[in-house]
Symmetry: C2
Subunit: 449 residues, 2 copies
């Protein structure tokens, strides 16, 4: 019944998603957040969901809360976690359309946020709407929490969870995103990596100088190069003392699931135009790395003249942004301390370390009943599915498990090569449709779980 | 007689310099070059100098040629070499005035090009004018060559010299710039370092990726860091094989002059806000390094997200701009080959090396008669002077010595801390005045040399 409703109303889903994309909401730049939150509230209300903005402080973007109480089964609650903010659109020159166009070509809707995370959000709103419009009720209570700081590290999500703990209480959480692989199999992911995001910066002199003075004045970019080189070897291994100290081996159950996870090396390499993987990884090593390998990634490096042609300048300042992915049991703050100690011991006292964001990793156990429920729903909606021990990405799942004490599972509509965080991000219309149906099935099955 | 004329006409000099500054002429961006060349021609003609633009090709900025023939001494010719182009003004946010303002505060005229090189050019035009307006003649032939590509490496100056060899023939060249130290002593510099300016770039994947994929996709910024670390040690020594092979020791005569060159460590460190020099250099080592030490300077590094806040991106591309300063006998092309070989041998075949510019070093011998002439003139105009074996900077002096086969000496009005190539560049009005007088004295003494 809901499936039919969804099929009939795809035009409305698409046009609502376009509206969301066309409202830029870049949290890194604090652009359009209030406007986008209001838009989400309106859209929820139109769907029959009781909606409001939650606030915990003046300069903190609001979260959107949505709720539909079930008449038939008011004792059970599922919560959808999403975010209305998006990554910056830069580099702008690489977009084929304007970054916030929402343009459609064939099966794809383009734009920053089309997949991450506005596409995911719309499937969930439309799933709730499908029950309400077809039955006048929902199989169990449905709650929504849509935050506005996910792309800058969800630094207030734990505050929101704690302040509104009772309002947000539930029995299970469906995470904000989920991938669908190149064979149209949804990936049911049970965990997320953690993150330590830092800026290292050096200011050597009070101002830029003529580069002929490089015989005398220290170059800050050289200082960063020297420091960076001590952090990681060319196979990606992090060289900071005790970095891996708390990392635990996979359990046998995890190893079995990892071994069964498919990964199409060929299409991955083709998609990114690469010939080899870091450290020449192959086979199961690739999947183990995605699930459980800590990384040290240079997300940005900036110093001196970056324009066309030549400028013979000795820059006064250099800055590098690094994101370290963490795995369960690694504490962001403890790792930050180790990084600082490492630099200090090697004489890099002139390098300033600023933590932008820290988040611990989290995993839901494979044996949890909710895993089975989601898997059955996914198999019905997509004909197949894959279970993954953990996503390679990061989100505040640890805060949810800590405060709400319920299982969190990630499943969604995002095609694995849909260029999230990159130019020409898109959402696939067929997957939005299937996923909306899948969400209905999850809700239904969960209410009987 | 000329001195008095100069004193009386400083207002005109200042206002003409402001006009030149207010005409942006950024060669790196190909902005305002034609306009600035026309302005220089007009200004020369107003001063009584026969002026025209020289052209050697369509998309090559014109050079300005100026000439005053002497009735009293037509057998001797001095040539002033200058440039009308300027460095890019970035970073714009660090300027107190608009970069092309020409604003005056106290003894200073601010703006990109105020010192380098429009301030120098104006003193020379005004020196010729002083003779013409006071005596109706000049002591010897005076020629001007003002190019428009100095700040991007003077890549066509040798073509100009060869094409117009007869027109430009002369007996001595006064170079485009000259420093005045913190004790108001003009530095008579007899040489310039060479330059090899390259871009190293890496493209690892066809597009930016989510940084969670750093377990698999190589990071181009990491590749550059690894490669760069092999090029130079922390004391500034270049680690490329045979890099120093052709470098010759100083002659005893050069060593004597270097030992006598003053260098105020304290005010230098204060000016740049630094506590130590690269490699902890002290005393005569500092002066030897400025005159004769090759460098490897990172002039720019760019990769990934450079905005505010966090973006968890794995960049597809990274680029570094490096300028290597060279000393006499080092060939830019040979050094480029050594750099490429170095990278190849270490497995950095994925790094693209692009040469932006190459220029050999050059020095005029200390014993040349023209050195004595310039020194006498400088001592008269400033009360004192310093001779330097070579500037730490680079210019196409090698091309001038090769084609015109005459001595080249650098002397000018640029206060040593006048922030050339940096924000808030300025020219000192008192030094412009003294230098204009000094140029008159050089012309006069040279005509009798």
């Amino acid at each position: 019944m809901q499936d039919k409703f969804i099929d009939k109303n795809m035009t409305a889903l698409i046009s609502d998603l376009q509206k969301l994309i066309r409202q830029p909401s870049v949290s890194a730049k604090n652009v359009g957040l209030e406007e986008c939150a209001r838009l989400v509230v309106c859209m929820m209300r139109k769907a029959g969901i009781k909606a409001e903005t939650l606030r915990i402080g003046k300069n903190i973007p609001p979260a959107v809360y949505g709720e539909v109480r079930s008449k038939q089964n008011p004792a059970k609650t599922i919560l959808f976690y999403n975010h209305y903010d998006v990554q910056p659109a830069e580099p702008l020159e690489l977009w084929n359309d304007k970054p916030f166009s929402g343009n459609i070509r064939g099966n794809k809707i383009y734009g920053r946020g089309s997949a991450d995370d506005k596409g995911e959000l719309i499937t969930r709103i439309k799933a709730a709407e499908a029950f309400l419009k077809t039955t006048g009720d929902v199989p169990c209570n449905i709650k929504f929490l849509v935050e506005g700081e996910e792309e800058i590290g969800s630094m207030h999500i734990e505050d929101y969870l704690q302040r509104y703990e009772r309002k947000l209480s539930c029995d299970a959480v469906i995470w904000e995103f989920g991938y669908v692989d190149e064979k149209d199999r949804p990936i049911i992911s049970l965990g997320m990596k953690g993150l330590l995001y830092v800026e290292l910066s050096v200011q050597e002199s009070v101002r830029d100088a003529h580069s002929s003075l490089a015989v005398l004045i220290e170059n800050p970019a050289w200082r960063l190069v020297e420091a960076l080189k001590t952090l990681r070897n060319k196979d990606g291994k992090i060289l900071i003392k005790d970095w891996y100290k708390e990392v635990e081996d996979f359990t046998n159950e995890e190893l079995r699931v990892i071994a069964s996870e498919p990964f199409d090396e060929k299409s991955f390499k083709k998609e990114y135009g690469i010939k080899r993987f870091v450290g020449d990884k192959k086979g199961v090593k690739i999947r183990k790395a995605l699930v459980g390998e800590p990384t040290c990634n240079i997300a940005g490096f900036t110093s001196g003249y970056e324009g066309l042609g030549a400028k013979t300048v000795l820059p006064s300042r250099a800055l590098v942004k690094i994101d370290f992915r963490l795995v369960p049991k690694m504490s962001p703050l403890k790792q930050l301390g180790r990084l600082k100690q490492h630099l200090k011991e090697r004489g890099f006292e002139d390098i300033q370390v600023r933590m932008i964001h820290g988040e611990a990793a989290s995993r839901t156990k494979i044996s949890n009943q909710f895993v089975k429920t989601v898997r059955e729903a996914a198999n019905e909606a997509f004909g197949k599915s894959i279970v993954s021990v953990s996503s390679a990405g990061t989100g505040p799942m640890y805060s949810f498990s800590k405060v709400l004490k319920v299982p969190c599972i990630s499943i969604g509509s995002t095609y694995i090569f849909s260029r999230i965080h990159s130019p020409n991000e898109f959402a696939r219309i067929d997957l939005l449709q299937k996923t909306t149906k899948c969400m209905c099935k999850i809700i239904k099955k969960f209410s009987n779980q």
